[in-house]
Symmetry: C2
Subunit: 410 residues, 2 copies
């Protein structure tokens, strides 16, 4: 893409009321626009990142047998009253609205209720199960304070998968698959070595649920890591047992972390109120055994920015970068355009800085945007035999030939 | 995809309160689920169709120079007060909600205001223009009555592009490109010959705006077609002038139609209140000249169902079908699976009905689902030398060899 065709511009300063590092950098680099506290529109560069995260998540969910659908934002009171989650005293972050005839509606913050309700249309026999249905969409949470940028938005992208199994055994098998899928996701987005599966309270149907927590000073949570097992426990669990649930180790290391996902055994908590039942092989009625698996897509984007950026700007992992290559022309547009075309023909995503701007500004913008490979075409580089090639996270560039460039990044 | 892995099932009856043909068929076939009047979740089969429509629209918008972003649902009062569109007496289909501190928010039904407001961050010089920014997302309209299924939802997918040009001349050039892009879209989704560009009132900045209207008895609009020019005028225009605006023809033919898109010259209606200005080549301040270009993605899906279905069910055009081939195994799963694998390897999208169900039910479901090519593998077909091949919209199938099948649909 030609940078001159991209309407966004970098900014020296983020809005004064923006206190989080992730939103400051993303706004300055033109990935998002702040509409109000906790509400950000996603600009073209940002949408490319969101789509890449969503596709990684999609791939892993499909791998576990997941089928994608799209649920709705507008929610019916009667459906949520069945589980006693309609009342604002019970769930304190609802956004509510009304139809013209004053019927109250809610804006979805999650979808256990409507999904359980819908599945009664499709589940009647053991042959209909298991079902793994997931959804990638924006949901709404009426946060009293919204100070963590896109890590805790009032409107944000997230993925939720709901599993519907015949019994606890079938559920547990899926739950283990989901753990692996989640680990794969964090590995693919470049947070693998900083993300810990973290034991959390389980509710009625399982001793534990599991969070995925990424180490960061910007995190709102404390976790307690067992370095032997490479897992962690959360604050609730440490207060109860103060040991690693896997090996009994008492020597747990406290760290700040961002919750980037959670998986939960729901058992029959939702299937009972919705009478989500099936006939088993013997013709007897059984309740469906459920699980839920959440992951904040925009939060993950914010976390990557918090964890991987440096003092010059964002550092995208290749898997999420809006473009693989940032091609900077310093007065050599014609030569640069040839390279742009060569790379584009090979299917390589290139942002071509063809703007009529000082070199210093182009370099600073490139660091701020955080595209993995920077390629500079200048009179100097051409004289020296090619282009200057530099990785975003290395200090020094080197001159390489155009053939060598294509080889290196293909 | 294996049909046994798809959790949806066909239904003999749609919900009693569902009066529209499009939603009745889409619910019965398992493409959508009714959450409440005017609010439908999109099930896996439906999401495949929505994504195909969205991708066709995306392709055409990109072709005109469009850049995609994702705006927000939550809207700030102050932004909409600038154009006097916050008040429910002025705009009667707002959904409103509140933050915890009682600050009123709206749910977006369109985005002229936030887009104009945002662009003040990015537009300062004539060099920054033109900009063509678009958005594909769900928007919300608080319809008093919602009786047209997914053709007039309270929450629905739509595409909106906003153009920001230096002056009327630059705007008009884009406007003509947009007309072509819209025509291409209706051609690609199979509605080309039934869709008329329709002259409508223009507002302050142009004599006309343009709607795109698809002939259908289910339409809420009346249009008046000039058969010489292959264009139409809407009710407003006919009342004013009663002639074709292109050739002066008075012999216009009245038809019922569904509005499937509209394009509008906004001029400086929004750029003035938001002070969206730029410095021209002489250094003088000028207001940006805007246009808006809307298209309902879910409405288009509903329109295709209204217009192209028959008494047996939906008839998808190949470009929108959730799968290209519906492969039915009648007791020959092993042989059918081989064909499934062969076609899938060639990148052909196949829904494989591997269910343990009566032949009659499989045939009826296949007609209801409306996948373009039906391939039946049975003892009889194999004896006769291959598979039975039938197009959804032809009466008779014929036996062809597997090699011939692959040739025909590749």
């Amino acid at each position: 893409m030609y940078q001159s065709k991209l309407f966004t511009k970098t900014r020296k300063e983020a809005p004064k009321d923006e206190v989080s590092k992730n939103a400051q950098l993303l706004i300055r680099a033109g990935f998002i626009n702040k509409e109000m506290a906790g509400v950000y529109s996603i600009l073209p560069l940002g949408l490319r990142v969101i789509n890449k995260i969503a596709n990684i998540v999609r791939e892993e969910m499909n791998q576990t047998g997941g089928v994608e659908l799209q649920s709705t934002a507008l929610q019916k009171k009667e459906v949520w009253e069945k589980t006693n989650r309609w009342d604002d005293k019970v769930v304190d972050n609802w956004f509510k609205t009304q139809l013209k005839n004053d019927t109250e509606l809610g804006l979805a913050f999650t979808h256990e209720e409507p999904m359980s309700n819908m599945m009664t249309n499709f589940v009647s026999s053991y042959k209909d199960l298991p079902i793994y249905a997931y959804d990638i969409r924006t949901v709404f949470r009426n946060e009293a304070r919204a100070k963590s940028g896109i890590m805790r938005g009032r409107e944000f992208f997230w993925k939720a998968l709901y599993s519907f199994s015949k019994d606890e055994k079938e559920h547990n098998e899926y739950y283990e698959k989901a753990k692996i899928a989640y680990k794969n996701i964090y590995n693919k987005v470049g947070l693998g070595d900083k993300t810990f599966m973290t034991f959390a309270s389980g509710g009625t149907f399982s001793k534990y649920s599991h969070e995925f927590q990424t180490l960061s000073e910007a995190g709102e949570d404390n976790i307690f890591i067992c370095d032997k097992c490479k897992i962690a426990v959360n604050q609730e669990i440490i207060e109860e047992q103060n040991t690693c649930p896997e090996c009994g180790n008492k020597d747990l290391r406290q760290e700040k972390a961002i919750e980037v996902g959670n998986i939960f055994s729901l058992g029959t908590k939702f299937s009972k109120p919705f009478e989500l039942k099936y006939k088993d092989e013997k013709g007897e009625d059984q309740f469906v055994f459920m699980g839920s698996y959440g992951l904040g897509i925009s939060r993950l984007m914010g976390t990557v920015v918090e964890v991987l950026s440096d003092d010059k700007g964002i550092v995208w992992p290749e898997s999420l970068a809006p473009f693989k290559v940032h091609l900077l022309s310093l007065g050599k547009d014609e030569e640069a355009e040839k390279i742009y075309n060569q790379l584009s023909e090979k299917g390589i995503e290139v942002l071509f800085d063809d703007r009529d701007t000082r070199a210093g500004e182009k370099f600073a913008d490139s660091d701020l945007l955080g595209i993995p490979y920077r390629v500079v075409v200048s009179g100097k580089s051409l004289e020296a035999g090619g282009v200057e090639f530099k990785k975003r996270n290395s200090e020094e560039g080197k001159i390489i030939s155009i053939e060598e460039l294509i080889k290196q990044i293909s």
